[in-house]
């Protein structure tokens, strides 16, 4: 990443700084979550670490004030890009009434925020794929130039809903982008026990849509792929499948212990390639990011997270009686 690639993509230095800031925020929030979990303050964390770079890059390639997104549980980078705040994420982690995702009803990582056009997600994987297709169908029916963006893990791409959703989107030529975040594991199951294809994007041809695999540790490559797919979608050229390959740097979740199924060296090697770091290196090379600036950002973010944590920790739970609310609307 030594030449100036980003200008060719139409990205300004300022854009890059903004992207990096979101990646950094995502990473620091995630790290804080683990601390809170290990100190017994929050019962559960599911992590974005290793995938922030691709999540943020993909989001920035979209219209973040009009497009719809159906994120999956690791997408802290996506939801921050689409307008969720650190405070809101902390409210979710602490399961407090004010949590905009679910008012503390769902576990962390189950995102949803209508005002930011972020679909509510559940735990059964891959169900969001047809939902995103439905958004795209509605957008087409209403002649809106909206793109519907949906993500999932590579393991989840083996569910029937992936197949049915993508096929539906292709037949109807809908403006939907499916991004598979291939982090090489589905909990303990390594890629080679999940699929026998060379690339997850090889599935695209079977639906009759373009498919591309990009290095998920290279945010500019991800940006480019998503940008092109979004342009095609807005031009009425239909859906795309993008596979962004990176690595899951943490255990599957705070309930998992990954030492039984993968070597420490493997994890260490992956850390070196982590897009979060390589992107920072690129920004430094390009003189976009200085130590000073980074220091300042870190400081701001730390304060933001501290404040968010304090707020969320002392915020009230929903009342026990509220359990009966919102089963039906009428």
């Amino acid at each position: 990443m030594s030449e100036n690639k980003h200008q060719k993509l139409g990205l300004s230095n300022q854009d890059l700084i903004e992207m990096y800031r979101v990646m950094l925020l995502a990473r620091r929030i995630d790290e804080r979550m683990w601390l809170l979990n290990r100190s017994g303050k929050i019962p559960f964390v599911v992590s974005c670490q290793g995938q922030e770079a691709l999540q943020v890059a993909a989001s920035f390639a979209l219209n973040r004030s009009e497009d719809y997104v159906a994120p999956y549980y690791r997408d802290v980078g996506v939801v921050l890009s689409f307008g969720m705040t650190a405070k809101e994420l902390m409210l979710q982690a602490f399961a407090k009434a004010e949590d905009p995702n679910s008012g503390g009803r769902q576990m962390p990582g189950h995102f949803g925020q209508k005002k930011n056009r972020m679909l509510s997600g559940s735990s059964p994987v891959t169900t969001q794929v047809p939902h995103a297709v439905g958004i795209a169908l509605a957008a087409k029916m209403e002649n809106k130039s909206i793109v519907s963006f949906v993500t999932l893990g590579e393991g989840s791409s083996n569910q029937g809903d992936f197949h049915e959703g993508l096929n539906f989107a292709a037949v109807q030529k809908l403006p939907v982008i499916t991004m598979v975040e291939n982090n090489k594991y589905a909990i303990s199951v390594p890629l080679e026990k999940q699929v026998a294809c060379e690339k997850i994007s090889d599935r695209a041809i079977g639906y009759g849509m373009p498919g591309i695999t990009v290095d998920g540790n290279d945010p500019l490559a991800v940006y480019e792929a998503v940008k092109q797919a979004a342009d095609r979608a807005r031009n009425g050229e239909g859906p795309s499948l993008i596979e962004a390959v990176s690595y899951r740097l943490t255990p599957h979740s705070s309930d998992d212990d990954d030492r039984s199924y993968r070597k420490r060296e493997e994890v260490e090697q992956a850390k070196e390639k982590d897009g979060f770091h390589t992107f920072a290196a690129y920004l430094r090379e390009q003189n976009i990011l200085t130590d000073e600036k980074l220091e300042q950002m870190e400081q701001e973010i730390k304060e933001e997270i501290n404040e968010a944590t304090d707020y969320a920790e002392s915020a009230p739970y929903a009342s026990p009686e509220s359990i009966y609310d919102f089963v039906y609307g009428n």
Binding site: T127, I135, A138, H163, N330
Partner: protein
């Protein structure tokens, strides 16, 4: 596999029932025509309403429920989908989240099973899990029921699979008039509604249906016959058999009260209690297998609330506990509820 069977038109069903409606001239519609009319009117009323499913387009549905809609509203609002029920439900859910009013057709209720995850995990829980932020106003129509030579997989009553899912509503109308009013209400409902139509009723049940715009309340049961000796609580096509049986037994001096559940989830508990207490002798009827069917829940409500009003044990008349209705005619007949079985059960209760 498609199974649209030519059924004998059983007009004998309706004669008596229609007399009781009496009055001014109204168009007579079959049960399936009422389905079509409800969708047509709703699509005219609201641009956000659209239909999706297998063969719903040019073909007008394998039962012809969507007949004419493709011609009137075009292929963008009457969408022939790929053969994939989880996508039909799931894409519909997404569109509903956006603000559309999808009416998804499952070609047969038996084929809704690949979509169970989308319906139960997603549609039913959308409002609750998002703390009222997102909603999912989808209607899912599916033809259910037996007696049409449909064998195991074109005859099932599948409502019990879904009748334990708060967030979801399940409507099972018994007559054309109810179909129209309830289907319109379902399409306008702010929550997901499973709308189950009895295949055998499609062409065999006819009655006067106003061509005006009306809805009927979801969640409310309906008294189809006032009576004082024995209470029947049932739903769907069985209501028609029950009315027939009741008319017949009236001449023998047995006066039957009939409560049509209409909405089978969540149940109208008040109406059930009143109906049960009214006569003290209760016959519950379903075409579904007996154990675990929704009339078990009805019996439970009665046993919780009306114990001291009962003069006889609650009686259940249901399909046998075998996996599903076989194809060979003598076997299918053995499975199905019919007027004779209901008459016998009523007499039993009357004599108790």
């Amino acid at each position: 596999m498609q199974k649209v069977h030519r059924m004998p038109v059983q007009n004998q069903f309706m004669t008596s029932y229609m007399e009781t409606k009496g009055g001014k001239m109204m168009p007579i519609l079959s049960y399936i025509q009422a389905v079509t009319q409800a969708m047509k009117e709703e699509m005219e009323r609201d641009e956000k309403v659209f239909v999706l499913g297998e063969d719903v387009g040019v073909r007008g549905g394998v039962f012809r429920a969507t007949e004419g809609l493709y011609e009137q509203f075009g292929e963008s609002r009457v969408i022939d989908t790929p053969l994939a029920e989880s996508a039909i439900a799931g894409v519909g859910i997404g569109a509903a989240m956006y603000g559309m009013r999808p009416v998804a057709e499952m070609q047969f209720a038996d084929f809704i099973l690949p979509a169970v995850n989308q319906i139960i995990s997603e549609a039913a829980k959308m409002r609750y899990r998002s703390n009222n932020d997102w909603t999912c106003p989808i209607t899912i129509r599916a033809p259910y029921g037996g007696g049409v030579h449909g064998a195991l997989y074109h005859s099932q009553s599948i409502e019990a699979i879904f009748a334990n899912q708060p967030g979801l509503k399940i409507v099972m109308p018994s007559s054309p008039y109810d179909v129209k009013g309830l289907l319109k209400a379902a399409i306008r409902d702010e929550d997901p509604v499973l709308f189950l139509e009895h295949k055998r009723a499609y062409r065999s049940i006819k009655e006067e249906v106003p061509d005006t715009d009306y809805t009927l309340p979801i969640g409310k049961a309906d008294i189809k016959r006032e009576g004082s000796d024995i209470t029947i609580i049932t739903y769907g096509l069985c209501v028609q058999w029950a009315i027939q049986a009741a008319e017949k037994l009236a001449s023998e001096g047995i006066d039957v009260h009939i409560l049509d559940l209409r909405t089978i989830y969540p149940l109208d508990q008040e109406a059930i209690k009143q109906a049960a207490s009214k006569t003290g002798k209760v016959l519950l009827i379903t075409e579904d297998n007996k154990e675990g069917s929704i009339i078990g829940e009805v019996a439970a409500i009665i046993s919780e609330h009306c114990l001291f009003d009962l003069d006889a044990p609650v009686k259940r008349l249901a399909g046998p506990d075998v996996p599903a209705m076989p194809y060979a005619p003598p076997l299918e007949k053995e499975f199905m509820i019919n007027q004779d079985k209901i008459e016998a059960a009523i007499r039993d209760l009357a004599e108790f």
